[in-house]
């Protein structure tokens, strides 16, 4: 058993070392973000909300209705329906249940025409779960249905 003096010396030394490192860290640049006011930038590969971009040349959907994304989805949250035959085949329903989506990105990977893509949005929360059913129009607009929560500051 070390003597009282020795233990006191150790305690003081531990305190001084700890505080020394703490003060060193005080002078370093801050790493935190004032979140609802400042937003962080996400990388280009970010798995955010899904969107269906419209072909700018023809104005039609890029989707060729091959059902590959519906089949690969591990949580089965994509629902596609189509009518017509051959060239007149059109999408009548393209629903994504975003509350089930696990952002794995397999649908984006299998899509042969890049018709389904990720957007750099990361604020998907809403006050109502029904708002998380994204229909074709929502996916075309590629934006969250509700304005994002701003916190209490605004």
């Amino acid at each position: 058993m070390p003597s009282l003096l020795q233990r006191t010396a150790e305690a003081v030394q531990g305190l001084v070392t700890g505080l020394g490192i703490t003060f060193q860290n005080l002078t370093r640049p801050k790493v935190t973000l004032l979140y609802p006011l400042e937003k962080s930038n996400v990388s280009p590969r970010w798995h955010g909300l899904l969107a269906l971009p419209v072909d700018t040349e023809t104005g039609n959907d890029k989707c060729i209705i091959c059902f590959q994304c519906e089949r690969i989805c591990p949580s089965r949250c994509i629902h596609i329906e189509a009518t017509g035959k051959g060239k007149e085949r059109v999408l009548t329903r393209f629903d994504i249940e975003m509350d089930k989506c696990q952002y794995c990105g397999l649908c984006v990977e299998v899509c042969p025409t890049e018709a389904i893509v990720f957007t750099p949005h990361y604020e998907a929360s809403t006050y109502n779960r029904a708002n998380l059913l994204y229909t074709l129009e929502d996916l075309h607009r590629a934006a969250p249905k509700e304005p994002v929560a701003r916190g209490i500051l605004r």
Binding site: G18, P74, Q102
Partner: protein
């Protein structure tokens, strides 16, 4: 003179205790302040991952393994599931993909150990360590994000390689992070290792002897702190681990302090592995051509293991030749280490419960699966 009548008291900790690292219930039998027996009650986070895997094909199982099992080491879980499927189906994996996988698994180990160190610091009353560990972990998350697109759940590994190649400049960022991290690791050592309070709370507390560790089948840092030099990366090398040089830290004390030191040394070794892999990283393909996403694995069974941050993660896969696995059994390291907890806690005081529980580093999603 009549002696005082004493009786044992049953104390119920959890499942909503903030320090139990998830939804774990501990039924503690106390004699005064001393622990007579601890009975962990698990199952609150059971998600039947093993059953769900039977209804998904092997690519979809990657996404499931990410979050259904040990959510703090998602990439290691992906590797575990893929290694079983790839071994059975004999899928070729390009060299570059093997190195990328190794780098990512080691980064994941760093992230997991950092989170453990931070929360263990909170358990023992050292709040500063938590904030600093989160600061460094965030940098690893950013490295992940720019490659995989996800921060915790990546779905990055694929049958026969990885999803996408590294973006330009990523290797330099990663190397820069490794050098930065080694300096921060020295800071943690200065802050915690020599601290008398930290030592008083952990040294000699919750001893698990070598014989007990073997008897309980303990694995990972818990076993290595008890003098058992067992690491799957060394004994059954996979991916690029046989081409890099690293040491397996082993301590013989078997107490909480030894488990802490094992993880601290492992972080240093992980950084070494990452730096070596970055130096050796070959050019070429990252994904084997012509491996379909709905791969049909030939009939048969296989048991493979990987070294997760918590220990020896094994997958027993039985296939009948279809698109889906017929049965998947997950040997979770947290589950086994939680079992050894009963032996570690016997005879210690109530105040040591959290110190011992924190030191084995369990993830309840991994325990219950």
């Amino acid at each position: 003179m009549r002696s005082l009548r004493t009786e044992e008291l049953i104390l119920n900790m959890g499942p909503q205790h903030p320090s139990t690292h998830g939804v774990l219930r501990l039924v503690v039998t106390l004699d005064g302040e001393n622990i007579v027996e601890v009975q962990p009650d698990i199952g609150y986070l059971h998600s039947s991952v093993e059953k769900m895997m039977e209804h998904r094909n092997y690519t979809q199982n990657i996404a499931l393994a990410d979050r259904g099992m040990d959510y703090l080491a998602a990439l290691v879980n992906e590797m575990a599931v893929l290694r079983a499927a790839e071994t059975l189906a004999d899928v070729p994996v390009p060299e570059r993909a093997r190195y990328i996988r190794t780098i990512f698994m080691e980064l994941q180990r760093l992230a997991s150990h950092l989170l453990w160190l931070g929360t263990y610091g909170i358990d023992l009353g050292a709040f500063t360590a938590f904030l600093w560990c989160m600061r460094e972990r965030e940098l690893i998350m950013d490295l992940f994000e720019s490659v995989t697109g996800g921060r915790l759940h990546h779905v990055y590994f694929r049958l026969g390689g990885v999803n996408e190649d590294l973006p330009p400049g990523w290797t330099d960022r990663c190397r820069e992070f490794c050098h930065y991290f080694l300096n921060r690791l020295d800071e943690y050592h200065k802050l915690l290792t020599g601290n008398p309070i930290w030592k008083a709370r952990t040294q000699g507390v919750g001893v698990l002897t070598r014989e007990q560790a073997i008897a309980f089948g303990a694995c990972g840092p818990v076993a290595r702190a008890s003098g058992l030099a067992w690491d799957v990366r060394k004994s059954h090398p996979y991916e690029a681990y046989d081409r890099v040089e690293f040491q397996v830290p082993v301590y013989t004390e078997g107490d909480c302090y030894a488990r802490y030191l094992v993880r601290m040394d492992e972080m240093r070794e992980s950084t070494r592995i990452i730096l070596q892999c970055l130096d050796q990283l070959p050019e070429g393909e990252v994904r084997a051509p012509r491996v379909p996403l709905n791969l049909k694995v030939p009939a048969g069974e296989v048991y493979t293991r990987v070294e997760s941050p918590r220990g020896d993660l094994g997958i027993h896969l039985v296939s009948t030749g279809g698109e889906f696995p017929w049965r998947v059994k997950i040997r979770a390291p947290s589950f086994v280490n939680l079992h050894a907890l009963t032996e570690m806690m016997r005879g210690w005081k109530v105040a040591d419960i959290i110190a011992i529980l924190g030191s084995i580093d369990i993830v309840l999603a991994d325990v219950d699966r």
